[in-house]
Subunit: 261 residues, 2 copies
DNA sequence: CAGTGGTCTAGACCACCGC
DNA sequence: CGGTGGTCTAGACCACTGG
C-alpha cells in the first residue's frame, strides 16, 4: 500500500475536471510512463477507493474510461491489468502475388509464416445462398452465390472472420465448393478454371464491433475491428470473388504499395 | 409514454444476463430494426427507469454500452440520440496519381471534390525538429527533419490530422518549408526539385483514440481512429517523405488496388 | 476462505438545454 | 423554469479467482 502514493498523486474535488477523469488521467500517465508495465496488475478498486478517498463507483468509472481506450482490461476475480500488445499479423502488399500461390500456400499461411505464429482455421462453412445487395452489386448482378465462411486463429487466438462469395456458375461443383479448396487456396482453383486473376480491389473501414463480432473474435473492450471488402477480378474484367473480412484491429497491420503513376 | 411499451419489452431480473445488458440489447435491436431512426432521441433515462422499474445507474450502464459501440451519443441537457452517419471520404487508390498533381490539386482536394464536400485546412505548423526513432528509420537514418503539421476539415468537421516529415537536405529553404506549398502540394514540389516519385508505401492500423486525438478530431465516444503511415520513395529508391496521419474512422473508406502479379 | 471485479439500489447535487 | 444528462455517495449482494 505504501507504494501507491509513490506512483499516483491525489485528486482535487473542486477542480472543473471530474474526479473520475482525474483518476483516469493519473492511471493513464502512470501506464504511459511505464510505472505500470504491460500485463501488470493495477491497484484494486478497494485500494484506489482508500488512496483517493472516493466511492467505489468513481473508481470504477475511471477504469471504465481506460477500458474504452483499450489501455486496460478487467478480469473478474483477479484484477485490472495493463493490456498487452498481441502479436501482430502484417498483411503485405504482395500477399496475393501469384508466386505465393504457385508454392501451394494460401494467403493466410503466407502471412502467418512471416509473423512466425501458429495459424489455424476453424468454423468452416460452405453453402449456396442468396447474395446480399452489396455482394450482388460487386459481383455484377449475381443472384445466388457460393459462400465460404471461416475463422482464422493465430496462436490459438481468433483474429479474423471471413466470408468469400463466388458466382455459382463459376464455383458450383468444383473444388471451391469443398471444405478444403486444395493447395494455393481458392485463387489457385479459380486460375485453373480459366479465370486468370488480374487485380484485387480492397475497401477498408474501421469501427467498433457488434456484439456478435465481440463473441466470434473474443474481443476485449476497447478493441475496434477492421472491416475489409476485397473484390477479385480476372483478366477479362469480371468480378469472380468478393471476400468480406472482419479483423481484430489490435492483431493487424495492413500494408499497401501505391504507384506514383 | 404510452409508446414505450410498443417499442421496448421488459427485462427478466432472474436471467443470467445482466439487466443492463438486456436493456442495451432491446435498445440496440430497436435501433437496428429502425424503430428508432438516425438522429432520433431515445427515451430519457427517467422514462426508462420507470418503464423497466430499475435504478438510474442501471439505465445509464446500458447507455454506456451503446455509446461504446458507437451506436448512440449523449448530449448534456438534451438527451441520448441515435448516432448519424457522417459523410464519408473515400480515399481512392489512384489518389496520388501524377495526373492529379499536374492539375494543381493536392490529394486532399482531389478526394474532397469526389465526396462533394467543402474542404478546409487549419492548424498549420511548419518547423524543423528532431526526428523520432520510427520516422528516422523510415527516412533512412535522418536526424533532423522538416515537420509539416495540419488538420483537415470536411464541411466544418475535423476528420484528419497529419504530419509530414521530410529530410532537411531536401526541404530546407524550399517552398516545402512555407506554410503554403503551392499548387499540387509538396509532392509536386518534390518532383520539381528532381525527386521524381516512384511509389508510396502505406501502413494501416486501427485503434481507439488517445484523449488528445479525441480533442483534436472532436471524436464522439465509440469512434476509433485509422492510423496511416505513408512513406514516399523517389525513383532512386530514397525515402523522401513520411506522412503520419490519424483519421476519424467513421469519416473514411480507404480503397486500394492490388496487382495479382 | 479472502480478495477481486460485476451488478444493483436509492438517493443527492450539479451543469446544461430550451422554452 | 423543468427536463435532461453528468457526477458522486454509501451501501448491498453476487460470481469468480486463487491459495
Amino acid at each position: 500500500m505504501g507504494s501507491l502514493p509513490g506512483r499516483l498523486g491525489s485528486v482535487d474535488p473542486t477542480s472543473d475536471r471530474a474526479v473520475f477523469r482525474q483518476i483516469a488521467d493519473q492511471l493513464r500517465e502512470a501506464i504511459d510512463r511505464g510505472r505500470f508495465t504491460e500485463g501488470e496488475k493495477l491497484p484494486s478498486e478497494a485500494e484506489l477507493v482508500e488512496h483517493y478517498g472516493v466511492s467505489r463507483m468513481t473508481v470504477r468509472n475511471s477504469f471504465s474510461m481506460l477500458q474504452g481506450e483499450g489501455l486496460v482490461h478487467a478480469e473478474h476475480g483477479r484484477g485490472v491489468f495493463v493490456r498487452t500488445r498481441p502479436p501482430v499479423r502484417r498483411l503485405a502488399s504482395d500477399r496475393f502475388a501469384r508466386r505465393h500461390r504457385e508454392q501451394g500456400k494460401s494467403a493466410f499461411l503466407v502471412e502467418a509464416d512471416a509473423a512466425g505464429g501458429h495459424p489455424e482455421v476453424d468454423s468452416l462453412e460452405v453453402r449456396e445462398e442468396k447474395a446480399g445487395q452489396d455482394v450482388a452489386n460487386r459481383l455484377g448482378a449475381v443472384r445466388r452465390v457460393l459462400a465460404r465462411r471461416r475463422r482464422y486463429l493465430l496462436d490459438g487466438r481468433p483474429v479474423e472472420f471471413a466470408t468469400s462469395y463466388l458466382p455459382l456458375d463459376i464455383a458450383r461443383a468444383t473444388q471451391i465448393a469443398e471444405p478444403n479448396p486444395g493447395p494455393g487456396g481458392i485463387y489457385a482453383r479459380l486460375e485453373e478454371l480459366g479465370h486468370r486473376l488480374d487485380h484485387f480491389d480492397e475497401e477498408i473501414r474501421a469501427r467498433m464491433p457488434s456484439p456478435a463480432e465481440v463473441r466470434t473474435l473474443r474481443l476485449a473492450s476497447g478493441v475496434p475491428v477492421i472491416h475489409l471488402i476485397r473484390t477479385a477480378y480476372d483478366t477479362e474484367g469480371r468480378a469472380v470473388e468478393v471476400c468480406d473480412t472482419v479483423m481484430a484491429a489490435d492483431a493487424y497491420v495492413l500494408a499497401y504499395r501505391l504507384p506514383a503513376t
